[in-house]
Symmetry: C2
Subunit: 468 residues, 2 copies
């Protein structure tokens, strides 16, 4: 499947701010230019072939994309539309030569950012829809940031009846994500003969001959970036989307709020997610060194560093998601370093305590060891995958099973995931209560492991039922 | 899909030994009766509906199966063939009434044990084979234990030409695993009119009218149990099959050899795999207690117990596989208890050493902690599943990736899986070299984690290539 991305317009209203020097497709949003964002969102949906229609300052756009996507494995063709000022319909038509005859394609606007899940679902729907119709993604009007400027659609029993910026009655809004059959080109040509150069004119034409379906994106995020305000709106929405429903309570109330702000800054640097992971690990090591020193003033510094490490540990994933840099390698390194950090911090606490109060040391070692074992076991049990279940469940991690019953990190389970554990360590260190803190960790983590064992037993000891 | 299992014969030659008192289907083989084994092998291939044809001492067989499979979720119908002495073809024909008209089914012999992978592949092949032919599983004659008594098949360009016990020329042997269309019933009736009551007569009839295909089982295990010798042969083959290609070197050379013998005995008890897991855990705890005592004589006992625990830890999986009791719950408990055992044993070593040589204790704690961390990380990195890869790879555990490059636990990686770690602990304890042993563990395990990080990097940092 190819994607045609329109990146020909000037975007005057947006280019009036600090990014005046850049053509619209190259305006940055959370570390990526709008055009790169469109390309990478499509790539996440399994699209590797692109036709990009450039116009205003096209050379610059081409140079930028070629430089950035050099080693991406994507096939990107560029088409120049010198008459870009006439209307976006003409840009679509110019892409025709870069497609095979009768080839379906996805049409995207470089100035629309969207959750790539929308495109995945659209493609899945379009594969089923064998009627040879084009499919336009639509959203409810109340979800749209700049409704006035949006392209509206009138529906009748879920069938589109009219489309246009200026129509009076409407039920939905065009999201700028479009599964097109080649019928669009004929429609465009027909309309251009009449002097109509906008894409929506051709879409009206498809509606009139019943060649268009709509697909409700179900409230997922998208935004048309036309003004500095909409850029800011999109940025905030995207940062907000970094919160995960499975975030633990400390993560939700503290860490994520801070890490989002940090992420919003570091996406603009060249820092890779793995570098951020390593930074978080180094902060954790520093924290362990302060714990090791044992004295209360150092404990406080160590505790604060532990919490800082916990916060930064959120940023790697956030940057990865925002910049489409999520990799298995990154997730692997993150998990491994987190476990080492956990171990070494608790180790620092044990030794620090022991150095200070040498006499009563066996207990601190026993308690510390169980805190360490328990912390490990929480992560370990999360990561175990189902080895023997029926195919449909195979590879499902126990974590996801727990998550279903322990949504939000709290209900039904003891909240002792890493966010909480490091928070407990910080509080304990600040209060100079290392023994109590380790005892608390030892008891809660190991209790949660026992709870998991019994909950897994309930789930998996059911007699095997024939598949129906 | 239904399976028809023939369990009507007397099995005179087999019943002459100690199991004289039992009808053939109930003769035990590694903890399960032959008939249960046939049922559970089929269940593993996704079959939940059974028709069992009983004859000789049929009541007894029915009572036994009903008792054993009460809560299994299987639908089992019984058909009695009072004329079981006439020939096994008649038993097949008796099953007709328990099947729907024109229904395909799988035909199994209760006295044939087989690797359930054969049946899975046969079903997969039969689903593709839309020609409406029956398919008979065949093996090469050189793989057959008792060739004289086997039913032979003559092939011509992979098509069957003749079948029978007495034929002179043959290329293959009937394994007694048969995908049947309802055509078999007509063939049986035709032959019976001629006074021929054996199944192979009807199969010859299918061959003559080109309604039979054969499927080469590719060297997988099966065995026709007719004599005490073949029962012993099958038992040894099945025990041998418990060795995994991914077993570590200590497991291969020591643990598996012993655990197989233990397993061969405990399959005949009611011990569940999870109970064996718990036993192994308790032995590990005992080992830790002896380590804790510190003195050399106790260290030796602790070391031997650690190795014993390692061996018993193999038995749970072996019993589970032999008795079709593999569950996710069991695998989960096994993993969790193994990690606790690892931690507590190393903890015992640290404290024992420290109690004995109190003066130099910071180093033993540091080294011990890294041995603990490293041991944990080996298991943890094995268990991590790929979170973000394309669907085909999703849920693949890193362990399997390592296994591909580190087949046999050795080549390309440092052999520090649990079998080796516990062996090192035993040797170190016997030699009274706790510090050296922990240092060795600390270095090797953590080095291996680093090696894994870099090997994963090589694999997963490749640019994403479009799926072809």
């Amino acid at each position: 499947m190819k994607a045609v991305i329109l990146a020909a317009g000037k975007g005057e209203r947006l280019s009036q701010g600090k990014d005046k020097s850049k053509p619209k497709p190259l305006i940055p949003l959370l570390g990526l230019s709008l055009l790169e964002r469109a390309i990478l969102s499509a790539k996440e949906s399994g699209i590797y072939d692109f036709v990009i229609v450039v116009g205003y300052r096209g050379e610059e756009v081409i140079r930028y994309v070629e430089e950035k996507q050099k080693r991406s494995g994507l096939n990107i063709d560029f088409v120049e539309n010198e008459e870009w000022e006439k209307g976006n319909g003409l840009s679509v038509l110019k892409a025709r030569g870069a497609l095979k005859e009768e080839e379906d394609f996805v049409l995207l606007m470089c100035d629309h950012v969207f959750d790539s899940g929308i495109l995945k679902e659209l493609l899945a729907k379009a594969m089923l829809n064998k009627g040879g119709k084009s499919v336009l993604c639509v959203d409810k009007p109340e979800n749209v940031f700049d409704l006035e400027d949006a392209t509206k659609i009138l529906l009748e029993r879920n069938k589109p009846k009219a489309i246009g910026k200026g129509i009076e009655n409407y039920d939905a809004v065009d999201c700028g994500i479009f599964y097109c059959t080649s019928a669009i080109f004929n429609a465009l040509e027909e309309e251009m003969v009449k002097g109509k150069y906008e894409l929506s004119d051709a879409v009206q034409c498809l509606i009139d001959c019943d060649k268009l379906d709509v697909f409700d994106i179900g409230g997922r995020f998208w935004c048309d970036i036309d003004t500095a305000e909409s850029l800011e709106y999109a940025k905030n929405k995207m940062l907000k989307s970094l919160e995960k429903p499975t975030d633990g309570i400390i993560s939700k109330c503290i860490n994520r709020k801070i890490s989002k702000r940090i992420t919003a800054r570091i996406v603009n640097t060249n820092l890779t997610p793995t570098q951020i992971t390593v930074m978080s690990f180094i902060i954790a090591l520093a924290s362990a060194v302060f714990f090791f020193l044992g004295e209360h003033k150092y404990l406080i510094i160590g505790g604060l560093l532990a919490q800082a490490s916990s916060i930064i540990d959120g940023c790697d994933g956030e940057v990865a998601r925002l910049k489409f840099l999520t990799t298995d390698y990154g997730a692997f390194v993150d998990s491994v370093l987190d476990r080492y950090a956990d171990g070494i911090m608790i180790f620092g606490l044990i030794i620090g305590y022991w150095r200070l109060y040498g006499g009563i040391s066996v207990w601190i070692i026993i308690i510390g060891l169980f805190a360490l074992l328990g912390s490990f076991m929480i992560s370990y049990t999360n990561s175990l995958a189902l080895p023997t279940s029926p195919q449909a469940l195979k590879g499902l991690r126990f974590e996801n099973i727990f998550e279903n019953s322990v949504k939000g990190g709290g209900k039904g389970g003891i909240p002792v995931r890493r966010d909480m554990r490091l928070f407990v360590i910080m509080v304990g260190a600040i209060l100079n209560q290392v023994m109590v803190m380790l005892l608390l960790l030892a008891i809660l983590t190991n209790l949660e492991v026992v709870r998991r064992l019994s909950s897994i037993k309930r789930i998996f000891r059911l007699p095997m039922v024939p598949p129906t």
